[in-house]
């Protein structure tokens, strides 16, 4: 009898609605809660000097994560973004002699080339994205080390340093650039033919192909965009630390980027890209680390908290069973 009453009592909260809401907006709620906690318990957390540091640190991750979000939207993944950053960083000092524009141009071209290779392997050769981009994940950084001779090189170009350390209207240029890229990528996803096609490919590639969409071209473009964004992040990293170190730039950033995308509510199964969510995902992970540091917690504790957040995000975003 007790069993019958137990089963008759239904939960009062509508689980289905929470499940729909959580992946889309949970990350914003988490940020709000974390900020609230810091306002209450962390002295000077909201001071501009602190926020400024946080924004500067998160900017490169946001830039890389934007590209990653596009790739993940096609049901792909790009492991080579860290290597691309290193490659871009290694090329900068070599071409600074020809001027800032030339140096930036060369490192962006390197990004385009890596993207073309990744995209071709995925779209035309038909390799799985994780395997295709693994090649340059390993090889890209190796090449960067060869180019740089394995040495750390100081960069003294004023214009370049302005990009990494300067301010515009009181806000770091780096942050302006990241914000601009967020707007552009958001616009591309929402408003362009390319964006719609990208989502359709992630949702159902054979169907999109049959609809007459040039699927291969779109896919290659997506990987090129991702690599170019990574090379932007790479050259900005050089500009910020005022030196080029191919062995350290962008190390493990692919994982931070994927984390930001997933925590932001973009499903790994493709067909949907949350641009603002991705930014929020990166911010959340950054704030978690900052909070932990302010409260003198061990880095290992921080990592475990991050792990929990990732699990919650993946759990919330997991595929609903269709009716």
């Amino acid at each position: 009898m007790s069993e019958a009453t137990a089963t008759a009592a239904r939960p009062a909260i509508d689980l289905a609605r929470i499940r729909a809401w959580l992946p889309a907006y949970g990350v914003y709620m988490a940020i709000a809660l974390l900020l609230l906690f810091n306002v209450l318990f962390t002295p000077n957390f909201l001071a501009w000097s602190n926020l400024r540091i946080q924004l500067i640190q998160v900017a490169p991750i946001v830039i890389v994560a934007l590209g990653m979000a596009l790739v993940i939207g096609t049901e792909g993944i790009d492991l080579s973004v860290g290597a691309v950053m290193a490659l871009a960083a290694a090329l900068i000092p070599l071409y600074l002699g020809y001027g800032v524009i030339a140096a930036i141009g060369v490192s962006l071209v390197a990004g385009v080339l890596v993207g073309l290779i990744n995209g071709t392997l995925v779209a035309r050769v038909g390799l799985q994205p994780i395997v295709a981009t693994l090649a340059l994940f390993v090889g890209g950084r190796g090449l960067a080390l060869v180019i740089s001779g394995g040495q750390l090189k100081d960069v003294r170009n004023e214009d370049l340093i302005y990009l990494g350390s300067g301010d515009l209207a009181g806000i770091p240029v780096l942050v302006w650039i990241a914000a601009l890229l967020v707007v552009i990528v958001g616009f591309v996803v929402r408003r362009t033919v390319f964006g719609r096609r990208l989502l359709a490919i992630g949702g159902n590639r054979p169907a999109t192909e049959l609809a007459g969409v040039p699927v291969k071209r779109v896919l290659i473009t997506v990987y090129v965009l991702c690599s170019v964004l990574a090379s932007v992040a790479g050259l900005l990293a050089v500009a910020r630390i005022q030196s080029s170190d191919a062995s350290a730039v962008g190390l493990l950033i692919e994982l931070s980027a994927i984390t930001a995308v997933v925590v932001g509510g973009t499903p790994l199964t493709g067909g949907r890209v949350r641009v603002l969510g991705t930014v929020a995902g990166a911010l959340l992970m950054q704030l978690v680390v900052a909070t932990m540091i302010k409260h003198n917690l061990q880095p290992s504790t921080t990592e475990m908290v991050q792990a929990v957040i990732i699990l919650v995000a993946v759990y919330a975003a997991r595929e609903r069973k269709s009716r």
Partner: protein
């Protein structure tokens, strides 16, 4: 003693009364057909029976006891098994493993007893007409054999009731025969079977009793043999019997007006694909519906896909309005005015996670945009036009396509094709898996499109549909054209004769 009883069950979803005082009784050893259009409440009723949903009113009685199934697992433990349209097994694991998954025989040490498992699996499957090495991966078996494994698995767990939801939709005729043999065995063992299918022929072959649902209510229940076929259809549709008789079983009106000397809108010449197609040639005039006939595996779907650029070809040409396609790609084909509706709308047709709107606009985005930026206004215009024209029922253009009924999904897919303003429409099983009402709508739409001057190629396993819909039928066998029916020859009998004759010819040649 009734095996399973549903007494005055109701189920309400926001805005819909999916089941309204539904009662239904399944006797031991009875094969009970459950029929109705999509949205009539069949799926909801099945989900209530299997513990997926809990009824809002009324009760379930199982073996004369009131029963409450809180989860599908509860229902399964009680002996109610379900087999779905698609096989829910693990393709990379062996047949035997799939069969015994979760109930593997163990030896004295608690380790897996492989020898016993393989022996028993072979014995069990033999009864289902599956003679294969049970160590093979399930995925390497034909779809029909996989379905048999699923069925064997369902019955093995000491089932008293087996619910089959469109079990034959992916089976070949021979496999259907085997399935029916198995159903008769189960019947003899006193197991009750609830059989859901859109195929009326099958119902009359295998079912004893029938319950017809319409709009969540039971409109008829009784012995199937006492119910005339036309009466059944009219009850399902809520349509007058004489109307069904007058209009035929399909929504096709019959012949289309085509000028016999008109230049073909589609001309296929010597299409070859090393693997499957051999010198396929035929042409379609504007306003003409050409059927592709043949058995499963005859190369009908491959032909259609090859014309649409989605299947690799080694040679041959495709001309639209006298202009040859330069390269056989889907992009070129769509641009030339060829629209392909694939057989499997879930896998190759729709993007289930995107909205009705995005799905309809997918193929024509460049036309609805400027400088690469999409125009929502223009998309909305197109979407509204086709949703009205095809009477697509969705809560809004923003509803996920995956949440629509089969018939409406198919209409969305057709809307996408029509939005490309095609000259030729290639339809592969356009009415498969959709309810009778939507079927008639799709069929009359095909008529209408042909009368507007489109060339249509129609593939259908439903002989009635092919014969009533097509002006000519090109018959394929083993990837080659083996005959063509025109004019008065377009009948079910001569279609079957042509297929059979081709088979004989083949045997004599060997």
């Amino acid at each position: 003693m009734a095996l399973l009883e549903v007494v005055d069950v109701s189920k309400v979803f926001p805005g819909v009364r999916a089941l309204d005082d539904v009662s239904f009784t399944l006797q031991p050893g009875e094969v009970h057909a459950l029929v109705g259009e999509n949205g009539a409440g069949k799926s909801t009723l099945i989900k209530v029976l299997t513990g997926v949903y809990q009824p809002d009113g009324g009760e379930l009685r199982y073996r004369d006891e009131p029963a409450v199934f809180d989860t599908p697992m509860d229902a399964q433990r009680a002996g109610i098994s379900t087999i779905y349209q698609e096989v829910n097994l693990i393709p990379l694991m062996s047949v035997a493993h799939n069969l015994f998954l979760g109930r593997e025989p163990r030896n004295a040490l608690g380790l897996l007893d492989e020898a016993r498992m393989h022996r028993e699996a072979s014995e069990i499957l033999l009864r289902y007409g599956v003679t294969t090495d049970v160590r093979r991966r399930l995925g390497t078996l034909a779809l029909g054999a996989q379905q048999m494994v699923a069925l064997a698995r369902a019955v093995m767990i000491d089932a008293k009731v087996v619910i089959m939801d469109e079990p034959t939709s992916s089976l070949e005729p021979r496999e259907v025969t085997t399935l029916f043999g198995v159903i008769r065995d189960l019947h003899a063992q006193g197991i009750g079977i609830v059989y859901v299918s859109h195929r009326l022929d099958e119902l009359y072959q295998i079912c004893d009793a029938v319950t017809i649902l319409r709009d969540g209510k039971v409109v008829h229940t009784g012995r199937l043999a006492d119910l005339e076929r036309l009466k059944l259809v009219s009850l399902m549709l809520g349509r007058d019997m004489s109307a069904v008789r007058r209009e035929g079983f399909t929504g096709f009106a019959g012949g289309h007006d085509t000028a016999p000397d008109a230049a073909p809108v589609l001309k296929v010449t010597d299409l070859n694909s090393r693997r499957r197609l051999h010198d396929i040639s035929f042409s379609v005039r504007p306003g003409e519906v050409v059927g592709l006939g043949g058995l499963l595996g005859a190369g009908r779907s491959e032909t259609i896909k090859a014309i649409g650029g989605a299947y690799p070809i080694d040679g041959g040409t495709v001309e639209v309005d006298g202009r040859e396609l330069k390269r056989p790609t889907t992009v070129q084909a769509v641009r030339a005015g060829i629209a392909v509706q694939p057989e499997d709308r879930k896998a190759e047709g729709l993007v289930a996670g995107l909205s009705v709107r995005e799905n309809i606009a997918l193929a024509v985005l460049p036309r609805l945009s400027r400088f690469g930026l999409v125009s929502d206004r223009r998309i909305d215009d197109i979407v509204r036009t086709y949703m009205d024209r095809l009477r697509i029922k969705a809560s809004s253009p923003d509803q996920r396509v995956g949440d629509l009924s089969g018939g409406n999904q198919q209409k969305v897919l057709l809307a996408r094709l029509l939005a490309t303003r095609p000259k030729v429409l290639l339809l592969d099983e356009p009415t498969r898996g959709i309810d009778v009402g939507a079927k008639a709508e799709v069929q009359s739409l095909i008529d209408e499109l042909a009368s507007e001057g489109l060339g249509v190629v129609l593939v259908s396993s439903d002989a009635e549909e092919l014969v009533e819909g097509a002006d000519r039928v090109v018959v394929l066998r083993d990837g080659a054209v083996v005959g063509e029916l025109t004019g008065a020859q377009v009948t079910t009998e001569s279609l079957l004769e042509t297929i059979a004759a081709a088979a004989e010819l083949e045997e004599n040649n060997e």
